[in-house]
């Protein structure tokens, strides 16, 4: 745990720096044809894709091949998150359609909510800030859900994916300890 503490602290500090995680819009629908500045890819770095503002995003080829992070996000989401938020981010009887939250929420608010959790009466999301299985893959989960919210990937397991880059492997190993 000690080795992986640093990225978590960094994440927590980042979260604190961004005020006002809002509550209400998580189940609001998404119109994929509308303009979403947090979606288009501006540049690639070591197998990771970013928007113009440096927000992680997904990259999906015309033949359906997804970038590694989107695929990895699918896996991690369905281990850590789907027991509340449902398969493919579709929501459950007691937690919102998080695929829409990933589009509607600001990246930093999304991040902060995962790190800190959230209380809204008897609707409670736990804090995942100390869970390496979530924190080491938070960008993965975020870009996967954003792709789901935008209908850029279908439900179920993406069938074609980019290989995992060496840089992503190194970061994963450092983070998981």
């Amino acid at each position: 745990m000690t080795r992986s503490a640093t990225p978590f602290l960094a994440a927590a500090a980042l979260a604190l720096a961004v005020p006002g995680a809002a509550l209400a819009w998580s189940d609001q629908p998404v119109d994929p044809s509308a303009e979403h500045p947090q979606v288009p890819v501006d540049y690639e770095e070591n197998g990771r894709y970013y928007t113009e503002e440096g927000i992680p995003t997904y990259e999906i080829d015309e033949d359906g091949t997804v970038d590694w992070l989107t695929f990895s996000g699918f896996r991690r989401y369905h281990a850590e998150c789907h027991t509340c938020h449902g398969p493919d981010g579709e929501g459950s009887t007691y937690a919102p359609k998080i695929k829409n939250s990933a589009v509607n929420m600001d990246y930093y608010d999304f991040y902060a909510t995962v790190v800190n959790g959230r209380h809204n009466g008897n609707s409670v999301m736990p804090s995942f800030g100390e869970n390496p299985n979530v924190m080491c893959y938070l960008d993965d989960i975020y870009v996967y859900l954003k792709a789901r919210g935008m209908d850029a990937v279908a439900r179920g397991r993406p069938s074609k994916k980019d290989p995992k880059s060496d840089a992503i492997s190194e970061m994963e190993n450092a983070c998981m300890g």
């Binding site: 027991t83 009887t93 179920g156």
Partner: protein, 609 residues
């Protein structure tokens, strides 16, 4: 002389224990009441009442309803003891006492104070499977693992005990077993690396009397290496420790959140343990005993008399917690005391409940494919073990490999939703899931109080079948055969009830209460309640009138996957979304619906509607 004293004091002890429990025993024997969640200690969920029967059930009407005020998954059922109905809710675990002699007026209401932080630690919704009654007390096992004894008359707290630590992922969803002078309770948290245990509290005082873990050293699991047997042989020393690497057993799972049974003549109680943690089998080499195990333990001491591990080294999350149903039946010309168990792994086991001998192990859904069956040859080295099909072995396929088409899915051919048994037809009535999955294990790290899962899975209706996600089946436990099977669009997540009126009741996720003929399975009645049903059907008699009660309130595991509908990733794009979403049929709710016959129809028959 000394021996004699011991003997007499032993006798005296037994006598006083019998008295302490006589109250519940007599209430359970009275078919006019529903004094325990499971119908009786045998878990048969069978009622001798026959005013509502196969002839007239078609005339059944709603007699009265009650809103619980809570909108999440409602499992379990109310109890009826005397003139009072005791009704629970999911978190925040409110208990209502309703006065049946006064049109259901609320006699008292108890609402515990619980930290809402326990909510997200509960995998799969905040369900609770109901209160228990004994000795003038109502026992509530809250989500945060606090066990509370309430005075049945006024709802005042008699005692409280804390059974676990939610900050480590220990929570509770199950009811408790009141037996003799004890209240026996389990624990949830298999997805959080909990070391599962079962614990007895003194019924009078709430003091802890013993605790038996599912995994760990002999003195923690309360095994006697020479006396405790598995398939007829003593288990020997360190039978659990030998099957784990290092100290992995400390976060090894084996939680105990199912329905418990008891045999007072044998002085044994029966239950099953859940999955080993994590879901990634490569991370925990060995058989991982005694996860996925049927236990027979001594009521007084907790010591294990016999055990049987159904799924050694689980690779699919096939928890072994489902109920043990106790029956006396003839098998090969001999009357035997049996235990029948419908496991998540898709096999139905019939065992001798005194000796722990395995008599029958057969698939109760033909689509089950991860195993070719159990080795039934006592001379074999692999006696009692299931033969695993390599294609569906997530262990053999390895980490980071997606194993596809495994049946059943992780929610099992049946989850906790309890079956019923009719001694009249010698048939088991079993609510089942008809769902398969893809399962990909990968490496995870353990953090206390955080999910410890380590696999991703996709579930979908069983391919090449009727397209639905459930069946309601009639099962012959002697021959290991399905007698009939009713296809259902969604998993049947409701506990069944069989009655002497030759009717079997169950609920569906769309919200129907259904009554079927106990012999033929023909549908005799259906009524759509306000929300999907994951509760258990119960019945009672009041003022010479038979009533049937059911809780509605969609949620639980069924509320996760089925709410949005399941897709089969192996289908072409055209089929995706072709499967119905439960949200097209029902919405959240929390209501008790109670049925009876109209006054004129009690003796007439109906075949016209």
């Amino acid at each position: 002389m000394k021996k004699l004293t011991l003997l007499t004091s032993g006798l005296a002890l037994t006598a006083s224990m019998a008295v302490a429990n006589e109250d519940l025993m007599s209430q359970m024997d009275d078919p006019n009441q529903w004094a325990i969640q499971t119908g009786d200690y045998k878990n048969q969920r069978y009622s001798e009442l026959d005013q509502i029967n196969a002839e007239n059930v078609g005339d059944m009407q709603v007699a009265w309803t009650f809103s619980t005020g809570v909108l999440r998954g409602h499992e379990g059922s109310p109890l009826v003891v005397g003139d009072t109905m005791y009704l629970h809710t999911p978190f925040p675990n409110i208990v209502y006492a309703l006065d049946l002699a006064n049109e259901g007026r609320i006699k008292w209401k108890y609402e515990p104070q619980q930290d809402p932080d326990v909510i997200p630690v509960m995998c799969c919704d905040t369900v609770n499977r109901g209160v228990a009654y004994a000795d003038g007390k109502i026992f509530l096992h809250q989500a945060d693992t606090k066990v509370v004894a309430l005075n049945a008359e006024d709802g005042s707290v008699a005692w409280e005990a804390t059974n676990g630590d939610p900050s480590k992922g220990e929570t509770n969803t199950a009811t408790v077993l009141p037996v003799k002078d004890k209240v026996i309770v389990g624990i949830s948290g298999g997805e959080f690396g909990v070391q599962g245990h079962v614990t007895a509290y003194n019924m009078e005082t709430g003091e802890q009397e013993w605790r038996a873990y599912s995994v760990g050293p002999d003195d923690q699991i309360l095994f006697n290496p020479e006396e405790t047997t598995s398939l007829g042989e003593p288990v020997g020393a360190d039978s659990s420790l030998n099957t784990w690497e290092g100290d992995q057993w400390m976060i090894g799972g084996g939680t105990t959140w199912g329905w418990y049974a008891a045999d007072m003549d044998e002085n044994l109680f029966y239950y099953g343990s859940g999955n080993p943690s994590t879901w990634n089998p490569a991370q925990r080499p060995g058989d991982n005993r005694w996860s996925m195990t049927i236990f027979a333990r001594d009521i007084d001491t907790g010591e294990a008399k016999w055990v049987y591990q159904m799924t050694p080294h689980d690779e699919w999350d096939y928890d072994g917690v489902n109920e043990m149903i106790l029956t006396e039946q003839e098998i090969d010309g001999e009357e035997r005391k049996l235990l029948t168990h419908f496991d998540r792994n898709g096999l139905a086991y019939t065992m001798d409940r005194v000796s722990g001998e395995l008599l029958v192990a057969e698939k109760y859904d033909p689509v089950v494919n991860w195993t070719t069956g159990v080795d039934m040859d006592p001379e074999s080295d692999t006696y009692g073990r299931p033969e695993v099909v390599a294609q569906y072995s997530t262990e053999q396929n390895g980490e980071d490999v997606n194993t596809t088409g495994v049946c059943p899915a992780a929610l099992g051919t049946k989850d906790q939703q309890p079956a019923a048994y009719s001694p009249k037809t010698e048939t088991f009535y079993v609510p089942t899931n008809h769902v398969c999955m893809d399962y990909e294990p990968f490496r995870v790290a353990y953090t206390a109080g955080q999910p410890y899962v380590g696999a991703t899975l996709s579930m979908y209706p069983a391919p090449d079948s009727h397209g639905g996600m459930g069946n309601f089946i009639a099962w012959d436990n002697i021959n290991g055969e399905i007698k009939w099977s009713i296809p259902e669009q969604f998993s049947v997540w409701s506990g069944a009830l069989a009655t002497a009126g030759d009717v079997v009741f169950y609920g569906t996720l769309e919200g129907y209460l259904k009554a079927v003929d106990a012999e033929s399975g023909d549908e005799l009645y259906r009524f759509k309640t306000p929300s999907g049903i994951i509760g258990n059907v119960m019945t009672y008699m009041h003022d010479d009138k038979q009533y049937v009660g059911i809780l509605s309130g969609i949620g639980g595991w069924a509320g996760i996957g089925l709410a949005a509908g399941l897709t089969n990733p192996n289908d072409g794009l055209g089929a995706v979304g072709g499967y119905a979403a439960l949200s097209d049929y029902t919405a959240l709710g929390g209501q008790l619906t109670v049925f009876s016959l109209p006054d004129s129809a009690s003796s007439s028959s109906s075949s016209e509607n």
